[in-house]
């Protein structure tokens, strides 16, 4: 099953964090920063699978070749789109290549919903981002892989707000968050 889905930007600021187990907020942050360190040091030519971050590696795979436990997260898959990293942490019951496709479906769904999606959309439409994810994955199990159905599912929940045109591109990070108030209140 899928243990966590993370999205953060090139400087490591989270844009979406979804953990399918209850985890202390501080531990979540540590895990995010560990994964970011791993992922940001990788050249583009390398493959889309990360070695386990120290937090996860310590208790799982040791050097002994015992049978891998299917409950332990053992796979960190990521894809890099423009300014964003999409990361899925999963157990060995998931197929690594299929997870890459899943990320692609997720991003394509967002792209359809926002029409040429960019990082800013995800900041201002935080809820839609989560809604899209929960159309794909519920409780760590994939419920839908058809792009159309994902998009329809999100649209059924209400109108997807468009990005305000006058907001510049300097809105990355928390600065943008402050100005985002108006958008939320308006919906």
């Amino acid at each position: 099953m899928i243990n966590a889905v993370l999205v953060f930007n090139n400087s490591g600021q989270p844009r979406l964090t979804k953990f399918y187990t209850q985890l202390e907020t501080s531990v979540q942050q540590r895990l995010i920063s560990e994964i970011f360190t791993l992922v940001s040091n990788r050249p583009n030519s390398s493959c889309n699978f990360l070695p386990l971050p120290p937090l996860l590696a310590s208790s799982s795979k040791s050097s002994t070749p015992t049978t891998p436990h299917n409950d332990t997260p053992s796979l960190v898959t990521y894809r890099h789109y423009a300014t964003l990293y999409f990361i899925i942490i999963s157990t060995s019951t998931e197929s690594p290549l299929a997870l890459l496709d899943l990320i692609q479906v997720f991003v394509e769904a967002l792209d359809r919903l926002f029409e040429n999606v960019c990082e800013l959309d995800l900041i201002f439409n935080f809820e839609t981002l989560h809604a899209t994810l929960s159309e794909l994955i519920v409780g760590g199990v994939v419920v839908e892989t058809q792009l159309d159905k994902v998009v329809d599912g999100v649209k059924a929940q209400g109108r997807v707000a468009k990005r305000p045109v006058n907001e510049g591109k300097g809105a990355l990070g928390l600065g943008g968050f402050g100005r985002g108030d108006g958008v939320w209140a308006g919906r």
């Binding site: 990788r42 050249p43 050097s63 409950d71 997260p73 299929a98 792209d111 419920v143």
Partner: protein
């Protein structure tokens, strides 16, 4: 500031404002700002009528609720309410939130609301419900029992929406590996779904599930083969292709069809495709997953993997760390005595040549390579090849090795070499050199003062302690102990490591890496001091001022080694006690005393204790040395002081130390006549008292002084019995004999080996030909050490040496060489030197824990520590014990409630019938009394429950006021009191059979009361 604002807003009565504030908090939570204080506000917003508010609140709950969130109990009602909402979008909210907040008690009560949702008209609701039910089962496995038949019904329904079917397959796949036997009955339906195709994600899951089912049902193999072959040949999706191959290998399908024409075909197909993934495709992801697949099959089908050794070994040097790691894991599994040296050689080269990583690597070159999202295709069937396309750009520069990777490589080398008590090692000289080289490349450690303190507690265990150099040292020590034939060489290496003036050469130039090896090395030079070629140098290094800076546990080992080395240096009794010798020894002793003195106040108790002990011993020895007269005449043989030649060496020599299996101590049988209870001397108290008195009376300094210095006394002072000394004299020559035994290689064999080796390593970059070396004038420090320390007695040429001068060689060339060498190794077997490797000593049969890799107890330890749960892990072990087929003993609330209701209805009916019957009977006997007394007894009954004595009183009262039919009435009354639903009407004792188990306790009390009542 923003947080404060939110705090204010969230308390407002305006729901819109509240919900906006909540969303801001949820957003901030993502950045690590705690919002647990707002959990009640989450509930408030959750109960709003507006969907928009609800959605915000549910998201907040999902993101912020933790196991210990107190409002969880209150949220339960809201969840139940929203699950039964008529609007599908509202139902979705609790469905997606429940997996995040569920706990066992909640699972129990929500189940009844959730089950009807499985037949909701909306497929989106149905599929989410299935998954939510699965998560319920994870926290409370019993919930699956009522849910499973309904889920199964959905799965078997062919008109079901494909999305729902896919979701169910996902869940079944998750459940499947826990209890595959429960899902065999679904095989036909799953097979149809696989053949129909359409959804690649689902197909992958089905294949994964089948891989767990085939071992239970071999007939499936024949059935599965055609569709799988078809998929492999036809599919455009790389992920599906890969999982097909994976499933075929993992499900044991290859074994199942072995020998048949089909089997040949499929085996060829799979292996060919996997190899293709490794070499032909220019896709790094495929390379990675192919390695993953190889890793899975290396245990069961090593022959299949070894066919591709060439491509796999290439991956060890891949630019990508992820791929390297996978290759490393894989290689550890496929190592054997033929390829060990080639593989280790590759890894060693990697460690030596790669620069040490700087943690602040600039990721700038990663950014902005792709602008915008690049949608590949419209459906999830999009070809993996296309969607995974990446710009391929390999840098020429060797990637820096991250520290943990470095450590990992070193650990793997040690693991490979030490496996099965060095079964794969054919050349221990080589291994010792590898270890010495590893010390040089080991990364620096960050030992915090706290850690140093902690280490004191587990003193003496050569455990990793996070520093891999301890493990290297442990290996070196292990070889010295186990392989007697190379003990001399191991000691040579140890000596070179411990010499202070060599430190710059032997250890990494920067940082404190490799220092951990000193602990084991210190032990070695002490224990085998007689094998040292430069005891003076070693002693100087042990006494070097820098020694005191070592970690306390290493220092303690050093302290132990000092007297041992001293004993070796000063203990010869064949040499006359000349003035020169006396001076030398006195000087040496003075240095030791000088070194030990400050350590008697060392903060570490272990160090302090040893320092104090040996300081005293050394002072005594100094006394003995200075007081023993030397011979004036050169020809005269004067015995050196016995303290030096007998007593001190006797402290440290004895039986050989042998490795002992971890469980051996436990297996030592208790001697039958062992009696630990009877005192050895019943007069102990008296003896102790006398001893006290004696010491007081005898406290004469001169006496003590003399006792230590007079020769005959020294003999008796030596802590050794005659029998022990006999053993010593026996064991010492035997060890020499063993060492000599190893030299049975005749000169001609040695010469041949030498020539062979030169031939074999002619092109090996790791080997320096001494002749060529002399020409080039370039020499390695290691070489120098060996040359200078060994003199002529050792065959230098027989030791392969890591070439430090690799820069001049082309890298590609050497890689090619390595490959060629590995293939050649399989053709031409090198002559194996016969090493006798001591295995762990144990009694009786080996226990499973010590059977594997017993030379590395740390491995055993680490596997024991495995029980620890990983972060992020969702434990599904509860499901393992749940059988879906049979009915379990413990029933679920919902089932129990149904059963109870039925039982209750039956019981009530019976009670009613009996009541009527009794009433009729009572009316017949005593029309007036019955209702009155019924109430009276009921009131008193409360007391009856508290104490039997009171009940006796009650009984008395009843008897008094009762009248003629005492016994009978009493029975009735007590019963009436017991029947809680009864309103005073008498019920018979007959209804005992229908009373529910819950009331058992009370009923027993009643039976107890009755004799009292009748008796009074």
């Amino acid at each position: 500031m923003s947080l404060k604002e939110c705090k204010k807003e969230i308390r407002s009565n305006d729901m819109d404002l509240k919900s906006t504030a909540l969303m801001k908090l949820t957003y901030l939570e993502m950045f690590g700002h705690d919002m647990s204080w707002a959990s009640f506000n989450v509930l408030e917003v959750m109960s709003s009528q507006k969907y928009r508010h609800k959605r915000t609140a549910y998201l907040a709950a999902v993101q912020s609720f933790r196991r210990d969130t107190e409002v969880l109990m209150l949220a339960e009602n809201q969840l139940k309410k929203d699950i039964t909402s008529p609007t599908p979008t509202v139902i979705s909210l609790p469905l997606m939130a429940i997996p995040h907040v569920i706990n066992p008690s909640m699972a129990n009560s929500i189940l009844s609301d959730l089950l009807p949702r499985l037949t909701h008209s909306h497929p989106a609701i149905r599929k989410k419900t299935v998954v939510t039910l699965y998560r319920l089962a994870l926290v409370y496995p019993e919930t699956l029992r009522p849910a499973w038949p309904k889920i199964k019904e959905r799965l078997l329904d062919e008109r079901e929406d494909p999305s729902v079917t896919a979701a169910i397959v996902n869940v079944v796949c998750e459940l499947g590996w826990r209890r595959p036997q429960d899902f065999l009955s679904l095989a036909p339906r799953l097979f149809d779904l696989l053949v129909e195709g359409g959804n690649n994600w689902m197909a992958i899951k089905i294949i994964k599930l089948f891989a767990t089912l085939t071992p239970l049902e071999p007939r499936l193999i024949k059935k599965l083969l055609p569709p799988l072959t078809k998929i492999i040949k036809e599919t455009t999706a790389m992920s599906l292709l890969y999982e097909c191959i994976n499933g075929i290998i993992q499900g044991g399908i290859l074994d199942g069809v072995e020998g048949t024409a089909e089997g040949e075909e499929i085996a060829r197909l799979c292996v060919g495709k996997l190899r293709g993934m490794m070499v032909i495709e220019e896709d790094v992801n495929l390379k990675y997953v192919a390695l993953l697949a190889f890793e899975k099959i290396v245990q069961s089908h090593p022959h299949l993997v070894s066919l591709h050794q060439d491509v796999i070994l290439e991956c060890i040097d891949d630019a990508d760390i992820s791929i390297r790691m996978r290759a490393l894991d894989l290689v550890v599994g496929m190592v054997n005595s033929d390829n060990l040296m080639a593989i280790v050689g590759r890894l060693m080269r990697q460690l030596r040549n790669a620069p040490i990583a700087s943690s602040t690597e600039d990721p700038a070159n990663d950014r902005g390579r792709q602008s915008g999202v690049v949608p590949a295709a419209d459906s999830d069937d999009s070809d993996a090849e296309e969607s995974l396309r990446r710009a391929n750009q390999t840098s020429n520069q060797a990637p820096p090795l991250p520290e943990d990777y470095r450590i990992c490589v070193i650990r793997r080398i040690l693991e490979m070499c030490s496996r099965d008590t060095y079964a794969n090692i054919t050349d221990f000289d080589w291994y010792i050199d590898v270890l010495v080289q590893l010390v040089r490349v080991s990364p620096a450690t960050k030992l915090s003062p706290v850690m140093v303190h902690d280490e004191l507690s587990d003193f003496g265990i050569p455990e990793s302690k996070g520093d891999v150099s301890y493990e290297i040292g442990y290996e070196l020590q292990n070889i010295a102990v186990r392989v007697k034939s190379v003990r001399r060489e191991a000691l040579e290496a140890a000596q070179s490591l411990i010499l202070v003036d060599r430190r710059a050469q032997m250890f990494p130039t920067s940082g404190n890496g490799g220092q951990g090896v000193l602990e084991a090395v210190g032990w070695m030079v002490g224990e085998y001091a007689n094998l040292l070629t430069q005891p003076d140098g070693v002693m100087t290094s042990l006494l070097h001022p820098s020694t005191t800076q070592l970690p306390s546990h290493t220092l303690a080992v050093y302290l132990q080694a000092i007297p041992k080395v001293f004993a070796g240096m000063a203990g010869q009794d064949q040499i006359s006690w000349t003035p020169e010798r006396r001076t030398l020894i006195s000087l040496l002793l003075a240095r030791i005393v000088h070194f030990l003195e400050p350590l008697t106040t060392h903060p570490s108790l272990e160090v302090q204790e040893r320092a104090v002990e040996y300081l005293e011993l050394m002072r005594l020895a100094a006394e003995a040395a200075s007081s023993t007269e030397t011979g004036t005449d050169q020809s005269d043989f004067i015995d050196p002081p016995l303290l030096l030649t007998q007593a001190i060496p006797a402290l440290f020599t004895g039986l050989e130390l042998n490795p002992v299996a971890p469980g051996a101590q436990r297996k030592v049988p208790l001697p039958e006549d062992l009696d630990l209870d009877t005192p050895i001397n019943s007069n102990l108290q008296y003896l102790l008292q006398r001893a006290d008195l004696e010491t007081i009376s005898d406290a004469d300094e001169d006496d003590v002084y003399q006792a230590y210095n007079e020769r005959p006394h020294i003999h008796s002072e030596a802590p050794m019995t005659a029998a022990e000394r006999l053993e010593v004299s026996k064991s010492e020559p035997s060890s020499y004999q063993n060492a000599a035994e190893e030299e049975y290689l005749d000169p001609d064999i040695l010469a041949r080996r030498k020539a062979e080796r030169r031939e074999r390593y002619k092109d090996d970059p790791f080997y320096i030909d001494p002749e060529r070396d002399r020409d080039s004038g370039v020499s390695t420090p290691l070489h120098n050490i060996l040359k200078s320390s060994n003199g002529d007695e050792l065959d230098i040429d027989s030791i392969p040496i890591m070439d430090l001068d690799l820069e001049s060689k082309d890298r590609g060339f050497s890689e090619q060489r390595g490959r060629e060498e590995s293939t050649r190794a399989t053709v031409k077997r090198k002559p194996r030197r016969n090493f006798e490797i001591m295995i762990d000593e144990t009694l009786g049969l080996d226990e499973p824990t010590s059977s594997r890799g017993s030379s590395r107890p740390d491995l055993v330890r680490s596997s024991q520590a495995k029980g620890k749960k990983s972060l992020l892990e969702v434990d599904s072990s509860g499901l393992g014990s749940l059988s879906l087929e049979g009915d379990g003993n413990s029933k679920l609330d919902i089932e129990r409630r149904e059963a109870e209701e039925a039982e209750m209805a039956k019981a009530l009916k019976e009670v009613e019938r009996l009541r009527l019957e009794m009433q009729r009977a009572a009316e017949r006997i005593h029309p007036k009394d019955a209702p009155l007394e019924g109430t009276l007894v009921k009131r008193k009954k409360k007391k009856t429950k508290t104490a039997p004595i009171v009940s006796a009183e009650v009984a008395g009262e009843v008897v008094e006021g009762g009248g003629e039919v005492v016994t009978k009435k009493k029975k009735k009354k007590v019963k009436t009191g017991e029947e809680e639903q009864a309103d005073g009407g008498p019920a018979g004792a007959v209804d005992e059979g229908v009373v529910k188990p819950k009331k058992k306790k009370k009923r027993r009390q009643v039976l107890l009361d009755e004799p009292v009542a009748t008796g009074s």
